[in-house]
């Protein structure tokens, strides 16, 4: 009597297709996967703990390094949480600039997903085109904030600086040229028979199951649930903009792909409305507790100088309360749970990472599929380890 044995293999952590440093221990029977165990923690930098020893402003650059593919979205989530805790209302112009920044970041994140997802499956060309277009957004980021990947541009109570005419011009230019590029991606992939064979009916998850796994974002919408934080709990003036939520029906890799491809278009639509209707006004709240006095005032007015010292040395204090605020990140609902203790440092900052929950469903999604489908499934969930390990 012959005996069947399973084979255990190790995938990652240095596998280029695991989007960072995810280690998967796969149990194979032939080429079919019977079990998978994800191991995380290889990128742990202790961001939550670090935040407890910094003041509220100093945490902003740390959040850039969560989901570094779409850094401004993390800034937005964190800053809005702090503002909720301190009861600060951000001026409208700043809110619009934040929306532009974060939608650009979402497109950036999706570019990286598209490029690497296609590359993992074997379509090499797309990654070059995606990165070429991603570069344009990086240039926009650079124009506005001075940094390309991690802008750290948002501040508590507003944004760091006002926009420049060059910024507006290059955003408009991007809006003009991007639809054509998007059509190009579609032409390369959407109807391509190889792409369809590799992605259709792979990693299928029903709507109920996706919800019970705690899925959010495009991965949930691919399964047919129209949940989007921007619509369900509008923040930062998102209710001013007219956009639609793309949802899939089948919950497989291909539908998640289509959802994200449509999100490109919707993000562009939001950016267009925000740029064209950018209101006039200040870009920072006028609140003596958090607003850094202008340099002109500081040289003339001693009280402004003292206030500047107070804000920079100690930082704004938050009441001893706790808040939760979530934004729609490029991967799903990115939430921050913040506990203040009356000082200028957070007592506890907990980050609800959408990718962590997506990863937890990996064994369920992978089981029963072929080894080569693992990569397609990981790619379609669009996980980023910087956010999972924090």
């Amino acid at each position: 009597m012959s005996e069947t044995k399973t084979m255990t293999i190790n995938m990652g952590p240095h596998h280029p297709a695991t989007h960072g440093v995810l280690r998967l221990v796969l149990e194979l029977e032939g080429e079919t996967i019977v079990n998978a165990t994800p191991h995380i923690g290889q990128l742990h930098r202790g961001i939550e703990k670090l935040a407890e020893n910094m003041n509220y402003q100093q945490v902003i650059p740390l959040t850039d390094r969560l989901d570094y593919t779409a850094a401004s979205l993390n800034n937005l989530g964190y800053c809005m949480t702090v503002e909720k805790l301190m009861g600060i209302d951000v001026p409208k112009r700043a809110r619009y600039i934040r929306v532009i920044m974060s939608e650009l970041a979402r497109i950036m994140g999706h570019h990286l997903w598209l490029g690497s997802h296609a590359l993992d499956i074997g379509a090499m060309t797309v990654v070059f085109y995606a990165f070429k277009d991603r570069e344009k957004i990086m240039n926009i980021n650079e124009e506005l904030s001075g940094y390309r990947l991690t802008p750290s541009f948002l501040r508590i109570g507003g944004v760091a600086k006002d926009v420049t005419p060059d910024f507006i011009r290059s955003v408009r230019e991007f809006i003009e040229v991007f639809p054509e590029a998007l059509e190009g991606y579609h032409r390369l992939l959407t109807d391509n028979i190889i792409w369809r064979k590799r992605t259709m009916n792979i990693g299928t998850l029903s709507a109920d199951e996706a919800m019970s796994w705690g899925f959010t974002g495009p991965s949930l919408r691919g399964s047919g649930v129209a949940y989007d934080v921007r619509k369900a709990f509008p923040y930062s003036s998102y209710d001013d903009f007219d956009f639609e939520i793309p949802v899939g029906d089948n919950g497989d890799v291909y539908d998640r792909y289509l959802v994200r491809m449509e999100e490109f278009k919707q993000s562009l639509k939001i950016i267009r409305q925000a740029v064209e209707n950018l209101p006039e006004g200040p870009v920072n709240v006028d609140n003596p507790l958090v607003t850094n006095p202008a340099i002109e005032d500081v040289t003339e007015d001693i009280s402004a100088l003292i206030r500047r010292f107070k804000i920079q040395c100690e930082g704004p204090t938050a009441p001893a309360e706790e808040v939760y605020h979530a934004v729609e990140g490029s991967k799903g609902e990115l939430g921050f749970y913040l506990v203040g203790d009356g000082t200028a440092q957070p007592y506890r900052l907990k980050i609800r990472s959408p990718c962590f929950l997506l990863t937890s469903a990996l064994p369920r999604l992978i089981r029963g599929h072929m080894l080569s489908d693992v990569i397609a499934i990981i790619g379609s969930l669009d996980i980023v380890l910087g956010e999972i390990d924090r």
């Binding site: 740390l62 650079e142 391509n192 899939g248």
Partner: protein, 158 residues
Amino acid sequence: MNMQKVIRVSSRRQEKGKLIVPLLKGLVYTLKNLFSKKVTILYPEHRRAVSKRWRGLHRLKTDENGELKCVACGLCAVICPPEAIRMTPYEEDGGTRYPLEFFIDEIRCIYCGFCQEACPKDAIELTGVYDYVDYTRADLQFDIEKLKRPEDFIFKGK
């Protein structure tokens, strides 16, 4: 949940579609791109201009007399998230205050730009210098002299 506008993306989905035509369409697209303008540049012979707000190597600004504007107040050091700045202040009898030593650890720095935002004297700024290399870690501890002339550290090849 409030009324939402929803797009059903699966209308684009074709279970049974053409096999060859989409592949050819893709090839035509790449072929067209083959003749488009190059987007890459040959570094370091050619460089792109960086934005005015670029956050690169720091400069300690000087006034008309060549004196440092910095008064060693320490605000930049205290706001710096990775604690990359350290300084020794010195105060003369007349009340003039300046930094005796001023170090920025350019390896520790994350180029967040908080120091230039915090400075009450507009004495420190981040410049457009982004490519500087050196042999040892100690060389990248920038002191006052190095911080006065960040342009000297632009990478010139070899």
